[in-house]
């Protein structure tokens, strides 16, 4: 495990999440450096520290954010819409994680191309519909961080 997480790293983490929520996309380290008027190299290093601590997840071998749970930087089968905004979630659970994190009402469009099927869910005033449907968790908790993309 890497270096100690500092107050600066936690500030970077918060700004990444704020940026994702506000702009519906992952920030580059330069975006955060510009926002905070700080050196981009410090932010780049912080991204890697946060990655080592599972507080966000970088594309392998890069400085680019792939995952800041529940947000995905790349399109997935789980789209979450609210007003004029939409985000990609990493999985079915994270599609409910976005309205939980942002405390908003949403429409979730879940597509299952292998089954040629799609499901819509609504979160409305803190309640979710289709409560009787199931979500499958393939991996036990102790293996969630072995390969986060698969999880």
């Amino acid at each position: 495990m890497g270096k100690t997480i500092t107050h600066f790293d936690l500030k970077i983490r918060y700004q990444v999440y704020r940026f994702f929520a506000d702009n519906c996309r992952a920030p580059a380290f330069q975006d955060i450096a510009d926002l905070l008027n700080t050196e981009s190299e410090k932010v780049r290093v912080s991204f890697h520290k946060l990655h080592e601590r599972h507080m966000l997840f970088l594309e392998p071998g890069s400085d680019s954010i792939r995952i800041a749970n529940p947000f995905s930087a790349i399109p997935t089968n789980f789209k979450v819409l609210s007003g004029n905004k939409s985000w990609w979630a990493n999985c079915a659970w994270d599609s409910l994680g976005i309205p939980a994190a942002l405390n908003i009402d949403v429409l979730i469009e879940a597509n299952f191309p292998d089954l040629d099927d799609a499901v819509e869910l609504h979160v409305d005033h803190g309640k979710v519909d289709n409560e009787q449907l199931y979500i499958y968790f393939p991996l036990p908790f102790r293996h969630w961080y072995d390969d986060l993309i698969y999880t």
Binding site: I5, L10, K11, R13, Y14, Y17, R18, A21, R53, H54, M55, N69, P70, A92, W93, L96, G97, I98, P99, A100, A101, L102, N103, L121, V123, V128, N130, E131, Q132, L133, Y134, I135, Y136, F137, P138, L139, P140, F141, R142, H143
Partner: protein
């Protein structure tokens, strides 16, 4: 690898509210395994699948 688990949408929504409610807070510092276990237990997820130790 053990088999996975099925949760209802209602259960996952309850878990999501616990797991993600503070993710947009500037004070979020991650969570310990013990804290994660407490969240699981709060909504009745008590099996070995939801424990970090094997």
């Amino acid at each position: 690898m053990p088999a996975g688990e099925l949760l209802t949408i209602g259960q996952v929504w309850e878990l999501s509210k616990l797991w993600y409610r503070d993710r947009l807070s500037p004070d979020f510092k991650g969570r310990t395994i013990a804290e994660a276990h407490q969240m699981f237990e709060k909504i009745g997820l008590n099996t070995a699948f939801w424990r970090f130790e094997s």
